[in-house]
Symmetry: C2
Subunit: 431 residues, 2 copies
């Protein structure tokens, strides 16, 4: 027993429990903090990021150098690297969150029972939120800002390559909290790269109310397997665009291009194009040409391959594993389906519950697609890229949940709260 | 490899996966089923319970006999035992659910973005719901009815002592489903008492959308530890009633009696009475006498013990573990607290997030209690016993969630759904 308490694993468990207990204490203070004080903290944190820019950028340079040495890709290094403009963007994001309405205390519904009891549903913070994400320092500030504004304490666990940057950013954020008279423990970065730290935290269901893993398959799976804390996965987007037999050519080209090319590395980009058989000859050549001209590699089933090659558009045969795959790159799987049902079946099998879109002029097809597709967002004649908290009007988002529970789709401030019942009587008893 | 596939554990895993796959297939059908067909199924199931009463009661007698032989308590046997009246109650509960509005397809909010995009939030079923509960056969029917009405397939895992009864009830329910042209796999009872069956199911996060464990600490803990499927705990209620310095004596007596005595064995019963120091001499004798006269054992801190004994009310000293304990019996922990903050601290430490109540005439105390207590329901001058789906006006409930996520408090039909975004444009692309 004594031995195990002295072991490194036990020391890490104790350290993580202490960190989570500090978060729980801060959460109780935050849950009662008036909106003005929380907003003051975010504004002071934004100012502190500006003042501490030199130290933050130095920490980031060390992260980038280490990641480069470790052989990370250029895209990875790009997401990791900070510069004065990106720091400025983070500070601005805090000011934007400060300007949003506070969800805490909102009465979302109220009614009176026949016996005169008055019932209200009132938004309250979740409590302590654990974010586990990849090496993107901006998430540290965005998640801290959204959690604090919604009255939650945040425990922030960035990918280890971003640890120095995230700790430096968290120091600036803590300065803002303290200036506003709020506890610094309201937003803590886990101060170790030890992989076991996440698992130690995920065991603490007595202290942590929600875990949000945001990242690729292996991260998500390991969190879901280990966690006793409730998990909302922010998982991949294997998003489809379906062109039905009535789809207008121009719209088909525009939505395919926007979905695939505007920002190929994000979760609401299109990964697979489905085309109704009756429209393949009409639509595929123009759509394929536009995509190929934009540098997209088209991985095609035999029917679409024939159509595209006949039209002189460069395309390659798809392998089975190209369907249901999130490329996050200028690569697109293409498939001709016999009809709407074929598209619905393909999506039910290969989709990831993220975003699915149809281009159609047919009201019946639109209604069936809306009703029968299970995904956090179903788009009719609109780009998959609109599945985003800002674009849908929720304000800033902490991510896009692919777990159906609690919040399915973009999670803004309201989705970081829960609701309790408040019941008022005059001595009512149950008979 | 071959060996492991032939092992009993692998066979059980395969059996549970097959069962969950059948549920997933049924869920896809149910998610599109019109309301009328789901209601027909519930009504046909209610009729089938009546027709099959003899077989169901015979199965139940076998369950009860085995449980009695295994030495289960009288209270346990009472919850397990069925009779024609209880069967009739189950059938009626199905008719009541059939009469409730269908939550699926409800548009809970809609707005138009500045760019003209039309955004709707639409209720959809969760998919496949796994209920894990104790040996109460009525839960089998109530959960099946609520899941099917809300478009979900149910996998039902009763305590092993209720397996025969539950299988017989599920046969009747399946008959109702089939009469209405819905798949029998929409409500399946796990056909084995093997404890590992639950764990095998809880690993299937690709097929099951939600697990609801309803029961005591050990059941809840083992599910939370093992599950990869999202879990909403329906855990114990350590509910407090706080009498502040302004509490009217009559109301204090009425709410204490109703909370503790009306039905001591349920989760929204009061387990601990807190009394403001300044009101102890005024309130405790009458409240204590009423409770003692109703057969309640009062386990008291030194201050309340002195007051009660001085008034001639029978009381015993509390042990430390009596605070934060769910007695589910005619036993009540009693404690005098220095002030409202003392009550709030006690509740924050010992409460189970279920139901907390205050009796007060003071507006400020009422507002602080409402705001600062974290619990699924906060009662002001109303009995804790009102934390119940029917009493709050939600209709029938599948249980009371003590997990803050998704649904905190009573879960009715709406809480068995999630919401997706439906976005309609005219070829909108993101710039």
């Amino acid at each position: 027993m004594t031995g195990s308490h002295r072991s490194p694993a036990a020391a890490l468990d104790r350290q993580m429990r202490a960190l989570a207990e500090a978060a729980r204490g801060a959460a109780r203070v935050l849950s009662r903090a008036p909106t003005g004080r929380k907003d003051d903290a975010l504004r002071a944190a934004a100012a502190a990021i500006g003042r501490r820019a030199r130290a933050i950028l130095a920490a980031n340079r060390a992260d980038v150098a280490a990641a480069r040495k470790a052989g990370q890709t250029a895209a990875f290094l790009d997401r990791l690297a900070l510069d004065p403009k990106r720091l400025d963007g983070m500070a601005r994001s805090l000011l934007e969150v400060a300007a949003l309405p506070d969800p805490v205390g909102e009465v979302t519904a109220s009614w009176t029972r026949p016996n005169g009891l008055r019932v209200k549903k009132v938004r309250i913070p979740l409590g302590v939120v654990l974010m586990i994400y990849e090496a993107r320092p901006n998430v540290t500030i965005e998640a801290a800002g959204l959690c604090v504004k919604s009255g939650n304490a945040a425990i922030l666990r960035p990918g280890s390559d971003a640890l120095r940057s995230s700790l430096a950013l968290a120091e600036a954020f803590a300065e803002g909290l303290e200036k506003a008279g709020l506890p610094a423990a309201a937003a803590q970065v886990v101060p170790t790269a030890d992989r076991e730290a996440s698992y130690a935290l995920l065991a603490l269901d007595d202290l942590i109310d929600l875990a949000i893993p945001r990242g690729g398959p292996s991260l998500i799976r390991s969190v879901a397997e280990r966690s006793r804390v409730p998990v909302l996965k922010h998982y991949q987007g294997v998003c489809h665009l379906f062109l039905d037999e009535t789809a207008p050519g121009e719209q088909a080209v525009a939505l395919a291009l926007n979905g695939k090319v505007q920002r190929p590395g994000v979760c609401n980009a299109v990964e697979c194009l489905l085309v109704h058989r009756a429209a393949a000859a009409r639509l595929l050549p123009a759509v394929g040409r536009a995509l190929a001209d934009a540098g997209v590699e088209l991985r095609c089933d035999p029917t679409s391959l024939t159509v595209l090659r006949r039209a002189g558009v460069k395309a390659v045969p798809a392998r089975p594993e190209d369907y249901g795959f999130e490329f996050l790159d200028k690569i697109l799987a293409v498939r001709v389906v016999p009809d709407l049902d074929g598209a619905l079946d393909h999506i039910a099998r290969y989709g990831s519950l993220h975003t699915e879109a149809i281009v159609t002029r047919d009201l019946g097809n639109a209604r069936r697609f809306e009703r029968e597709v299970t995904a956090s967002a179903v788009m009719v004649n609109a780009s998959t890229r609109f599945n985003d908290g800002g674009e849908l009007g929720l304000g800033a988002e902490i991510g896009i949940s692919t777990t159906k529970l609690h919040a399915f789709g973009p999670m803004g401030l309201a989705e970081l709260t829960t609701q309790k019942f408040v019941v008022e009587g005059e001595g009512h008893v149950r008979t």
